[in-house]
């Protein structure tokens, strides 16, 4: 059984606590991505699941067994590292078979499993090569092959694609997804790249400063970020934010004395941040006045950078537009596409708050 249960897990180095009680339940076969900026604790959490870091508090269970004090080799996990960590003195075949040799499996079975993994990953021709004779993408595949042959209960990935160039990364990303669909093994995947997290995972866990900001299916996080941090972190180009004070029922007074009429009634006290995704802003005859600063067409869509007073907003328009730098435009957004956050706490404002 490949479930992973993380219960109020903490990590401290001496007096300094870096993970402040994280709880995540991962179902059998689920693909969970841990994502966040560097230093948020995502890699540390992964290494605690692997048994490479001690758990300072709380508990981690793999299957039905609490593994806090179980050594890495007995956790039935496989891990792929950012730098692949291939054994340089062994060829591809020996690298992939190493874990099985450690378990003293019969030679025939080792060979069969290695061949099967090599076939899945297209490594049959490279079995006798040493790691230094392989390209980056091939090394990456060998690292995955080494994990596959183990037939583990859980796969752990620590930024496995970040050493590859952009094109290869996209290719390996879809290969990884296909592999997961095929093998159906529980996977915990650490990345700082939100696109990777969004595209690969069944569920994304956004971490920040040693806590879980929010977790859920990728599109839920995109559609309903519970905090300013998640709103800013998920999505590219990032969400636009306008901060000010609510006046009356539906007007936001910005710091540069601009007032923005919102298409819904807002009943908030204190400072409020309005968040709108670039693709949810549209050009209209009436609305919030703005001036076009930069127009960047990519063919399928056009990104417009516009100035609203002292604020800069990005607008993503499907297809093409005749807007030119310097043009005066008006922007609108639908009420359901506008996110409201309490500026001080950073939390999402619910109706009536």
């Amino acid at each position: 059984m490949g479930t992973v249960e993380i219960r109020d897990v903490r990590k401290a180095y001496g007096q300094i606590e870096v993970i402040h009680g994280v709880s995540i339940d991962i179902a059998d076969g689920e693909f969970v991505a841990l994502v966040g900026p560097s230093g948020c604790g995502k890699s540390t959490l992964l290494r605690m699941i692997a048994g490479l870091e001690e758990i300072s508090g709380g508990q981690i269970a793999i299957g039905d067994r609490v593994v806090n004090d179980v050594v890495p080799k007995d956790r039935h996990i496989a891990m792929v590292f950012q730098n692949y960590a291939l054994y340089p003195h062994m060829n591809v075949r020996e690298n992939m078979g190493f874990a099985l040799r450690q378990r003293r499996l019969p030679r025939a079975e080792i060979d069969a499993r290695v061949m099967e993994a090599a076939r899945i990953l297209g490594l049959e021709q490279l079995l006798d090569r040493k790691p230094r004779q392989l390209s980056g993408g091939q090394r990456q595949r060998v690292a995955m092959g080494r994990a596959i042959v183990r037939q583990p209960n859980v796969f752990l990935f620590d930024e496995p694609l970040s050493n590859l160039d952009a094109k290869l990364r996209v290719q390996m990303r879809s290969e990884l997804k296909e592999l997961h669909q095929r093998l159906g093994v529980t996977t915990v995947y650490v990345t700082h790249d939100q696109i990777e997290a969004m595209t690969l995972a069944d569920r994304v866990v956004v971490m920040n400063g040693g806590i879980v900001e929010q977790m859920g299916p990728p599109l839920d996080l995109y559609d309903r970020p519970e905090s300013l941090f998640v709103a800013a972190f998920i999505g590219s180009p990032p969400m636009n934010f306008l901060e000010g004070v609510v006046e009356g029922a539906d007007t936001l007074l910005l710091d540069d004395a601009q007032s923005i009429a919102l298409p819904m009634s807002v009943s908030g006290k204190g400072r409020t941040t309005v968040g709108i995704r670039p693709e949810h802003l549209s050009l209209a005859a009436t609305g919030w006045p703005a001036t076009v600063a930069v127009v960047e067409p990519t063919g399928s869509e056009t990104q417009i950078t516009a100035r609203m007073g002292e604020h800069v907003v990005r607008v993503l328009v499907r297809g093409r537009t005749d807007a030119q730098p310097g043009d005066a435009i008006h922007l609108t957004a639908r009420a359901e596409d506008i996110h409201l956050f309490d500026s001080r706490s950073g939390r999402r404002r619910r109706p009536g708050e």
Partner: protein, 286 residues
């Protein structure tokens, strides 16, 4: 395309570079090797030919000094002693030093850094200050003039040396290698012996060779701790050089010196591939 686009001065420079480097290399070789050459040359001269002015390059070579001294100063036994002690202390220190260096590089231990520095600082103590206490200890244990005594004495300076060299070597290895091995089913020791040691073989071997050479030419401890049975070649050389009764026998000195150098040279030639590889890189970029 890039080759033809290269500006002319760059191409000329690249042709000039190797010549300067070769010339510098030849010069350095002459400076370093001339004394050795002169020693070997003199060892085949008769005593009266050694100090002629100007020095003679052409003379009738003789093996007389070799033959007489090989018997007289017990050179062959001392040669065997030196081999035993150099190999013994080299092997012992590489095993202990490499493991200590690995621990310093990898194991999170409170005060590990301090321990490492203290061990390194122990090398700052002048050997002569240690030699006398060592002799007293050896005498009260009744182990003076024995191979094992000298081997252990040499380990006192070889282990810190190996430890620090190998620590640097291990630090350059990505720690994910062992972590991966530990997930793959190894203990910490298993990961060290199955992954780290094979990868570090060039480094281990070159460190071992340097340790053995250090032990091979060590004089002070050998002089103090041995007498006849376990005495080594450097002691014999010192004895000839410091012969206050008959005066230094320069012929004998050069002959014994040559005998001392030959095994080291042969050994270095045999393992030079490893030596260069070990010194040049960690050979680990996986």
């Amino acid at each position: 395309m890039t080759a033809t686009a290269l500006p002319a001065p760059l191409r000329r420079k690249s042709r000039l570079g190797p010549r300067i480097r070769i010339a510098a290399g030849v010069l350095a070789c002459i400076v370093f090797l001339f004394p050795v050459f002169w020693m070997v040359l003199s060892s085949f001269k008769e005593q009266r030919d050694i100090f002629t002015t100007p020095p003679t390059l052409f003379f009738t070579p003789t093996l007389e000094t070799y033959i007489s001294y090989m018997q007289r100063a017990d050179i062959s036994r001392r040669l065997i002693n030196t081999i035993i002690v150099a190999v013994g202390s080299g092997l012992l220190s590489i095993v202990a030093g490499a493991m200590a260096g690995y621990a310093l590089a990898r194991i999170k231990l409170r005060g590990a850094g301090t321990i490492g520095v203290l061990i390194l600082l122990s090398r700052g103590v002048p050997p002569i200050a240690l030699a006398v206490p060592m002799f007293l200890v050896a005498r009260s244990l009744g182990v003076t003039d024995q191979h094992i005594t000298l081997i252990l004495a040499y380990c006192t300076f070889l282990i810190p040396y190996v430890m620090w060299l190998m620590r640097g070597f291990f630090l350059a290895l990505p720690k994910e290698l062992e972590e991966s091995a530990m997930i793959d089913g190894c203990s910490r020791f298993g990961a060290f012996f199955k992954i780290i040691v094979p990868i570090s073989l060039p480094g281990l071997l070159s460190t071992l060779i340097f340790s053995m050479i250090l032990a091979w030419e060590e004089l002070l401890f050998a002089l103090v701790l041995t007498n006849r049975y376990a005495s080594t070649i450097p002691v014999a050389i010192a004895g000839i050089a410091g012969d206050t009764v008959n005066g230094a026998n320069w012929g004998a000195l050069t002959a014994v010196g040559t005998i001392t150098v030959i095994p080291v040279v042969i050994f270095a030639l045999l393992v030079q591939k490893w030596l260069i590889q070990g010194l040049a890189d960690g050979a680990t970029k996986g």
